[in-house]
Symmetry: C2
Subunit: 482 residues, 2 copies
Amino acid sequence: MEKNQEGITAKKEENFSEWFTQIVQKTELADLRYNVKGFLVFQPWSVLSMEKMYEHMEKNLQNKGHEPYFFPTLIPEENLKKESSHIGGFTPEVFWVTHGGEKKFEERLALRPTSETAFYEMFGLWIRSYKDLPFKTYQRAQVFRYETKATRPFLRSREFHWIERHSAHATEDDAFKQVLEDMNTTKEVLHDIFGIPFIFFERPVWDKFPGASRTFAADALNPNGKVIQLPSTHMISPEFSKAFNVKFMDKDESEKYAHITCYGPAISRIFASVIIVHGDDKGLKFPWDIAPVQVMIVPITDDKRIIKKAKDLKKQIEKFASVRIDISDKRPGEKFNHWEMKGIPIRIDIGLKDLENKNITLFRRDLDKKVVVSEDKVIKEIKKIAKEFTKNLIKKADKIFEGRIKDAKNLQEIKKATEEGFIAKCNFCSVDKEGISCAKIIETETGAEVRGTMLDEKNKAIGKCAICNKEAKQIVYIAKSY
Amino acid sequence: MEKNQEGITAKKEENFSEWFTQIVQKTELADLRYNVKGFLVFQPWSVLSMEKMYEHMEKNLQNKGHEPYFFPTLIPEENLKKESSHIGGFTPEVFWVTHGGEKKFEERLALRPTSETAFYEMFGLWIRSYKDLPFKTYQRAQVFRYETKATRPFLRSREFHWIERHSAHATEDDAFKQVLEDMNTTKEVLHDIFGIPFIFFERPVWDKFPGASRTFAADALNPNGKVIQLPSTHMISPEFSKAFNVKFMDKDESEKYAHITCYGPAISRIFASVIIVHGDDKGLKFPWDIAPVQVMIVPITDDKRIIKKAKDLKKQIEKFASVRIDISDKRPGEKFNHWEMKGIPIRIDIGLKDLENKNITLFRRDLDKKVVVSEDKVIKEIKKIAKEFTKNLIKKADKIFEGRIKDAKNLQEIKKATEEGFIAKCNFCSVDKEGISCAKIIETETGAEVRGTMLDEKNKAIGKCAICNKEAKQIVYIAKSY
């Protein structure tokens, strides 16, 4: 029963974890058998899509004036040590390079866990005057973290593929505008192109990025009710500018420290969200713009007329979409199931009967339905579907996400909501230091975490903290997480 | 004299080394001040171009059926040890990762110096049947070598950006066809798009890639007469397939070892050749398709009508080319020099006079000349120049390269030719082991190296070896190198 062996057998809603494992393996996104623990071999079906994700994110950043760099993968230990909270946060997770050939280095080199301490070292050399600001940079890179938590393909690996955007500004106001821009970029790319719904939270002080004064992070939601942190954007602490001497001569001829921000969309992790949000029990479902291949042509037999038609169509389609012909020796039914599982947006089946009737049969994965169109209208129809495709995926994803926030008044209600897969929303004493004890109670009793506050929260907290009964300063959101 | 400070002051033909140093620094291709020796910070002007180079090379490989992967950056020492000549060749250059956080690893991990031993480990798991062959893969990646030779930006760094293509084939014949395809790919991309002339040599046995049975490498030529090795393609030794157990069940139902090949275009090094081949005493000259920015619009004043015209033009041009407007507060003359130095293919100068006469002035960097066209013809003219641009660069580069090979009859003539910046061509006893002593004599006496033989050498070696006077088996090419 090759067909059954190949297909996804776990149900996404019932056994999400097994479903995800099968998706990664059976659609050949990544191979976990590489002989270094926590490291993946990314296979073509994920790489082709991630390359398109990179392209969209980089184009968006470049249009907003951020310029691309390639920084070294290695960072000297002295750089990491310059800012104490940063080194504190990252040291336990650093991979250390100690030797070059037979030679032992005097100072260890870190495989970058993130590159603040590489970029800001150079910012200190590059930035001189207010005319240099804003100084807007980014890089496409891999980063390395010796994770002690359990790794999961794409979600948490010891090497991941990301973009990191770093900028320096003349004023705190300008820096904050950059943070707002990042949130907007996240919406434009992750939601409007990749189709991932999320909420941006400002993290509580105890959950900030090591070295940040304020941290904002997008949380997406899995069917099992756990949130995944997607891109985060940070107001970097002034300690950093001081440690790396990032200062400039202002218009008023006084020397000032620059205000730094950074933003980190982890492409390989966002890819996990794409799979999870859109996939179904049959397999993957790719948004149009980031599908590894957008159109697959399946000749039902190897009749010459059919193959000729397939090649003709391919030529026309490749002018505006990525397209392949499946000439493998599988049976048609197997091919249909295979490409459905692989998440091809549009499949074109060409059989003799259709050919004689001058018809083409299209299968569209957004609505999981077949459409028969006359030959001369097929290109127009594909272009039409291409336009609607991601919108249909977004509509569905948004609808599922919208219903997933539930008000809670006390610990019990928080526990019930988060166990049922909701994000709980409640009054909370404070996301400053004094709230830590309440946050710990929540974590211990429910296994969920305070994810933070919303920047544009419509309602003010009125009443008491759901945990300690002190006066509530904020409304917070609570969820289980990875 | 800001203008003089900014411009390139060294002459390319007279003092090539200083010219190259100034180009890298003054056009802001890379910053060498990063605090790990031998590592560069690649700046936007090189990254924008290298990204386009990646795009062309990857598209070409994908069109030929090679599928993209991302392999881990770390390779276990046991993999490297599996093939003895490979580990022998690379061990002295490996950066070793020994710790994750506080934990010391039982086995050291290598920062990949190249990824044969990672790919073939997985080939051993993936390849089962002749139906799986040819198995065609590649990855875009950085590799790391603790070079003991002096590093030079882009030419030889301790971390470089490349593509590595790995494939497995059913027969040696198929593998060799892949090697020929690689040579063709090199021509299509490096010559026809990047404009770099080169010759493919089969390297003598003593200069093969560690682990290869045959090595073919493209040599380009610098104005100082030194050759640079650009992409190389290799027939991998059968020892590798055995060490990694890469075998398949053939049609005849017998198990056979696969024939492996690999090809490694080092994008950051090829970028050096782009700069070197096309650049002149004024600065960079980018081929059209890989220019960081293709068109720069320079408004002569900030008159509203001029700015409006600049924006109108930008909108039309960005439909088919990358274009920016220079609104900095530099004087027009400074801007002209600046963009000439930065190698912008087409500069558009917009002044009031031209505006009144409904004219546009274009400066084309391929011919270093100004063209005045009427407003309504400017888009057509830009498209026309775009088509001719790289051809003009190629014509010039090919012409310089063609005259650079000189026949030599003995050691003296080899010495003279290579010292004068030529590639010397002579009869040679043998590129097999027995020729090593003659090769050593050449190296000691002239500082030049036997680069190898040409696959499609038109003439046969008739006569005696230029060094030892034994009967010559081959015609070889000799040059100084990096």
